[in-house]
Amino acid sequence: MISYIGSFLILIALLNASLLVLARPIFSKISTDYDSLILSTSKLQFPLVLIAFICLIASFVNDDFSLRYISSNSNSALPFFYKISATWAGHEGSMLLWCLILSFWTFMASIYSKSLNIEFRTKFLSIMGFLNLGFLLFLVFTSNPFEKNISIPIDGKDLNPLLQDFGLIVHPPMLYMGYVGLSVVFSFAVTCLLQNDFKREWARWVRPWALISWSFLTLGIALGSWWAYYELGWGGWWFWDPVENASFMPWLVTTALIHSLITCEQKAMFKNWTILLSIIAFSLSLLGTFLVRSGILISVHSFANDPARGAFILLFLTIIVGGSLLIYFKNAPKIQDNISFDFFSRESFFLINNILLVTATFTILLGTIYPLLLDLLGLEKISVGVPYYNAVFLPIMTPLVLLAGYIPIMFSSKSKNKKYMISHLLLSFLIVILFTLFSIYFLDNYNISILLGIFIFIWISFNIIYDLIMKIYFSNIKKISFSNIGMMFAHLGLAVFILGATIVENNKVEKEVVIKIGDTIQVKDYTFEFKNISEYEGPNYQGIMAKFLVYENNNLLTELYPEKRIYASNNMPMTEAGIDPGLSRDLYITLGTLINDDVWSVRIYHKPLIRLIWLGALMMVFGGILSVLYKRKNLAFSR
């Protein structure tokens, strides 16, 4: 019953979205009051899809196996919270989540766009409506979560055990908030093109949207990385997997975008470039969806190889990207850009930032798309190895992060005295070098890349802290805006991330050993004792749990319980890692296989500073949110 309401509401939402799209072209000829129609339909979309989404959740909780989506993604023995999160664990439900978030952003855009002039506002909301319509059509015709089973099964197939986890509850919604948030920026950019103008006040309006999407993207990617770390049992945090790349590319372009928008807002420069970046950012997030959902890439994210879905997304992608680029090349030359600027200025460094970020995106795009193209043409089956990404991506990022450590500080002081700047630069460089050399004392192993990583960490954090102290003591504290502190936090987060990533990748210890119950093994300063192994009954699985005692200098530090689980519904074995987390290091054990009697193969990892990777990402997110909270001056909008 509930599912019928959901089905019905989706159709109403589809009609509502069509109305939103068609209001302008059709009603403008009949009556002049199509504005209020656009404003109300753009707000109505969200409650419609939300209730439909709640209906789907309710059907999951009620074990309504008459729905095919539920019978193939849930099971009556599935714990309650996983029944809820299973709503967005499969393809159909995650597309409904996508539509829900898109309608949410449309709702927010409709509410917070009062300051835009009415013509701009209605055009902009109509474009958002067009996106809503496209995705709802996709949902209804290729992936309807409310589709019925021909005959009702007694019980469901169960959720993929890898996805029965807290990480899955939060990772997709956060990532989608980011992906779809970019639709606001995209629609805005296209509206600017249609209006042949991109005013500074508009840049000021759109920047918080870009920032909030960026924050959600950062959070979503970090959660995905954290989930892969503890759930996949390999102890890795980034694999340069095409699915990861699909989320990383829009992140890089959005990072470029939030920097170029500053220049748009303050100097009325890079307008066309910023519009292009907005289009690319959203296109890449659509491309990501296409790659992940079409079944072209095989991973835990892709569910079924349904060519109709791939074809539909590809068609939609072509219309969106092709259409917006066509408008771009037609109208962009009409937008007045202020192009004169000093070489030695903040703007030229923003330009370098953008060039580096876009180049990095291109190298990742090449590594992701090239194998797919070759395969599609039937020429060769290849994949691009991880060393490619490290060899290409890191050299591009190094100058970027070095600049991130200095440029914001250099131009935050109003003094344009070049002599002072150069002496300041040299002095801070020397101090940071000294700190870096001093840090060797704390390391038991170092090489050139570790030193570079530490240098970058100290370089960024030293300059930010120095700048903050100077501002607090030598100027009025009220002068530091939220957005400035947000920027500092985000850059500091970048530094923390770089430190964590460098140290863990260079100094990690990974042992794969064969161990007998009662035996011990030494990894770094820790002694691991394999105490016993026991079996237990989980809610929907059979568990085998090992007990390890961990000693540090002969003192018992902790007990770790790595597990093997065999899920009843599909007989799939799963590894649950035993992790002792810590800011300075993680200890990580996973059970391998039974070799004989009481001998097991196990992985024992020592991961120094790995938590800094996610801590850094959280700091970036926090910085992004702080910048959004920054109270904007009310500039009068020209109407």
């Binding site: 099964p153 049992g233 060769e380 994949s383 064969v514 093997k564 799939m572």
Partner: protein, 154 residues
Amino acid sequence: MKKRTLRIYYVSFILISLSIIFFLFIKTFNENLLFYRSPSQITVGEFPQDYIFRVGGVVLDGTLVKSKNSTNVKFAITDYEKVINISYNGILPDLFREGQGVVIRGKLGDDGVFYAEEVLAKHDETYMPPEISDSLKMKEKTIEDTTKSMNIYQ
């Protein structure tokens, strides 16, 4: 005049460094391409010599031999035409089983044994890596299996 020669120097400097960067980029890209081969292709010598590449197939029933005191394993994979022996030192993925599709990254030794650096099994029980199902020419079998598993729930 002097300014102009200076400009020429600048431009040529930028062009030369850009082409060096581009050259290094292409070189890195080419060196890190991992080719995929089926056991049949390997037996006729169609594989990159001295390079790491990937091979895929179904683990042949009864070939899995585990060492009693280390993580060494030996097994054979097949595309139902030819067989390749695999040697691997490490922990096999959870979903590794005889009779299932795997993709393996590594190098072919002079002894004809493929020395694996990484063994990948599928993510869930209904999925077959596309490379394998293509090279196996066993699409009908997969379709059969899928319809069978669907019938249970219909």
